[in-house]
């Protein structure tokens, strides 16, 4: 014994405990386990000391190229942004990190108030009435919003724009398989014309290519046809652009990772979901509400729980029992440190860099930028190399976003370029220089 370094039990402890139970071995407690299945080999290597584990993890981590080690223009739902030092220092405190869902509010006010403040901060940012912190990520938030719209309208058809992030649309398609919903994908500009009979229209603004979309017209069309409008949004854009609540949107969803959460290869992140007051009883997931204790002190509790799985079981609004609490607390600390000023500055810097970069690239021969309309802080870059540009740039140590052709029907081929406040002038010089060289090197087409 003594094989688990986190177990406090000495052999004397174990002997005393066995004696109190009235047995001689733990085996005496396992008689219900089929005999031939007992004590299986699991094939796990011998345990390591902490020093050895640290060295092992460093060795494996060193095999990855970190985002910060060279020019980096990958973005989309997950964005490399500046994280103030105080964010992890506060959000990862053991009192938050090692607590559980606040089932006992008297000893969980830290978590509950922090989540309620998250709900408040995000409500202000999105100009929506109600927000919660229960969604796993942006993609499942989109799927849950669609299911919510289906419950609210009694309709089974969901119309989603092609220019919604491909991972979000693919996850939506998976979630639609169970209840066998009809999912229709159309270009953003055709959403309004497809409103008839739809539970909801799902639009992304700015879209996957950073293009700004007229959401109001789409929301009006959805409402005129008796359906709902779901907008996929991203946090920083709302500092500068009219937010979902000002555009007539019923349910706003998105990926909250850019709010101070590390890239971490895609998770754990934070699904954003927000809705109008009137829809809250169909909202999935946990919600925190304000109340008072027995002496009149202000306090917070999980509320409206009769929507939830532990009470309603198969009639619940969702199977969710997670609260993405530590991610929501991280986002709240980030927003309170940044305040409106630094949040706007970060968003503006991404926009300014993206436009400066696009201007320089557009001057190169055979290079096309964007989808024609105004864009925010990312754009589609089309060159004669198509999606292959991504591989070519990698050889120069420059990382750009996914190839477009594979994931977005009718959007041509190319790559996406995301800028944030962490993109430097040197990064821009490197990308422009490389694209210039690679497109010039290509033999002239026969035509």
């Amino acid at each position: 014994m003594g094989q688990n370094p986190y177990s406090p039990h000495t052999d004397a402890d174990r002997a005393a405990m066995l004696a109190r139970v009235g047995i001689t071995s733990v085996d005496d407690l396992l008689t219900a386990v089929p005999e031939d299945a007992r004590g299986p080999a699991m094939g796990v290597p011998e345990g390591l000391s902490e020093l050895e584990v640290q060295a092992l993890m460093e060795r494996i981590a060193a095999l990855d190229r970190t985002a910060g080690s060279g020019p980096f223009f990958i973005g989309g739902p997950v964005q490399r942004r500046y994280i103030p030092a105080a964010v992890p220092a506060l959000a990862l405190r053991g009192e938050f990190l090692t607590a559980y869902t606040p089932y006992q509010p008297e000893v969980s006010q830290g978590t509950l108030q922090a989540i309620w403040e998250y709900q408040s901060l995000m409500s202000e940012l999105l100009a929506m009435d109600v927000v919660n912190s229960s969604m796993y990520d942006g993609s499942t938030a989109v799927a849950e919003a669609a299911l919510m719209a289906v419950r609210l309208t009694g309709r089974r058809r969901v119309v989603v724009a092609n220019e919604v992030f491909s991972q979000f649309r693919q996850t939506l398609a998976t979630y639609a398989k169970g209840p066998e919903l009809e999912i229709v994908e159309v270009p953003s500009r055709e959403l309004a014309a497809n409103a008839a009979g739809a539970a909801c229209l799902i639009v992304q603004h700015p879209d996957a290519f950073g293009t700004l979309v007229d959401v109001r017209t789409i929301a009006d069309a959805a409402h005129a046809a008796g359906g709902l409008c779901v907008q996929v949004t991203e946090p920083h854009a709302n500092a500068l652009l009219d937010p979902p609540g000002a555009l007539g949107v019923d349910i706003a969803v998105g990926e909250g990772q850019p709010l101070g959460i590390p890239l971490s290869f895609g998770g754990p992140h934070l699904g954003i979901i927000a809705c109008r007051d009137a829809l809250v009883r169909q909202m999935p997931g946990r919600i925190v509400g304000q109340t008072v204790d027995a002496t009149g002190m202000r306090g917070f509790v999980n509320t409206l729980q009769t929507r939830e799985q532990h009470i309603r079981r198969e009639k619940a609004t969702s199977n969710i029992c997670t609260n993405e609490a530590i991610a929501a607390i991280t986002a709240s600390v980030y927003l309170s440190l940044m305040g409106p000023q630094s949040l706007r500055a970060a968003a503006r810097t991404g926009v300014a860099r993206a436009h400066a970069l696009a201007d320089r690239l557009a001057r190169l021969p055979d290079v096309a930028i964007g989808a024609g309309g105004p864009f925010f802080d990312r754009f589609a870059l089309r060159t004669p190399l198509g999606g292959e540009l991504r591989t070519a740039l990698l050889a120069d140590g420059i990382l750009v976003g996914e190839g477009i052709g594979r994931h977005y029907t009718g959007c041509g081929d190319g790559v996406t370029i995301q800028c944030t406040e962490l993109v430097t002038d040197d990064d821009i010089d490197a990308l422009v220089g490389a694209v210039k060289r690679m497109t010039a090197r290509r033999p002239v087409a026969a035509s």
């Binding site: 094989q3 092992l56 305040g339």
Partner: protein, 498 residues
Amino acid sequence: MSGRVRFETGAVTEMPALEPLLFELQQPGRTGRHVRGADEADVLIPAAFKRTVPLPLPELSEPQVVRHYTHLAQLNYSVDAGMYPLGSCTMKYNPKINDRAASLPGFSDIHPHQPDETVQGALRLLYELQELLAGISGMDHVTLQPAAGAHAEFTAILMFKAYHEARGDTKRRRVIVPDSAHGTNPASAAMCGFDVTTVKSDARGNVDLDALKAALGDDVVGFMLTNPNTLGLFEERVREVCDAVHRAGGLVYGDGANMNALLGVARPGDLGFDCVHINVHKTFSTPHGAGGPGAGPLCVKRHLEPFLPVPRVIRDGSGTYRRETATLHPKSIGRVRSFIGNFGVLVRAYAYIRTLGEEGLVETGRDAILAANYLLALVRERYDVAYERSPMHEFVLTAAKQKRQGASGLDIAKALIDEGFHPPTVYFPLIVPEALMIEPTETEPKETLDAFADALLRIAKRIETDPTSVRDAPVTAPLRRLDEVAAARKPRLRYRPA
């Protein structure tokens, strides 16, 4: 946990409060300087798209923010602070080395859209974790994608649907769950478009095999079973249960919420289950994060492999790791989330498994079982146990007797707060009246188990003589009992300026 303190802030709050809100601390013009510049961006955004509504985020200095969140942290009870015996939640100690591993730049500063050749370390770790979990669970293949246990349930039931449909068997519409099941089980089945049939438990806390057989038929998708179940009891006829479901053409889902008890004791793959999920935030010690995110890898037998979600992490013949999409896996149910999994959580689980090794995992399961049985032996002189059997890693008491004496299970839970402990799970499973579900885990020392038992016994004695005093508990926590009815009747879900 701090005491009942009113912080001196000078802020005007609308009612007495432990800590002012961010919105009550702010003053216009107060700000840090975390990012600055780029005013020229304003001319790049067409006027029709610009924000026209105010952006009333609080304006605070960094020292204020630090104090605010430090004060909030101090209002929480946590595993770092003390025993947290929530049944079915496995609140074991969360080792710090695992947090440090997850924050290495090679793990935290990599983007999910990076090409495979730039993330070979991350893919190797995921691949190796898949292999480790397959060995631990006795299954053949693993997806690390599900973000939580409930997400794994959803993933698996969709895979069951795809499995039946691939065999041309399209009439299956029902999922069976025991009456002791977690609420997520029936909710997940419903999300997959299926009806739910509940079967009762027998007098020994097992699934009632006759009731199950009566419920089975050729319209049954599958059966969802937690083992050990939510009563903390090992399913005594688990193989007969699985066989019965299989004979009816159904599949058996293993809810692995209680996997901590099975480490080195038995593998679900050897007991007849077709798949099992693992809550790594329970069994493999990753922090619960005040409710999440955790991760819920799903381990499956070979016959379910074609239906696993994409992308899949594989190692090719040359030792290179790749993510494979639906093009190579046409029967896959598709993508269940944006990316490959809650990677930062999975890194921690990997570090934990490598630290403990085979022998450490075996010891973990056995110590967890011993701790629960020891604690039960200490408290049963004054508490009734729901089922007279040796439990595995947790046990369920019924406070029905105490309720008759004048204090409920909830009162006992609140009284434990005044004794310095986090309460156990209360009122679950639903089939036990006044349930107190207690899971000590293997990381609580014997002295702490003794102290917790003493506290429970003291409370029982108080109830025998002065139950009213228990109904006022807690009196030492930051707040007294909260009015949940008022919260639901008139929901206040966000800050609104007075």
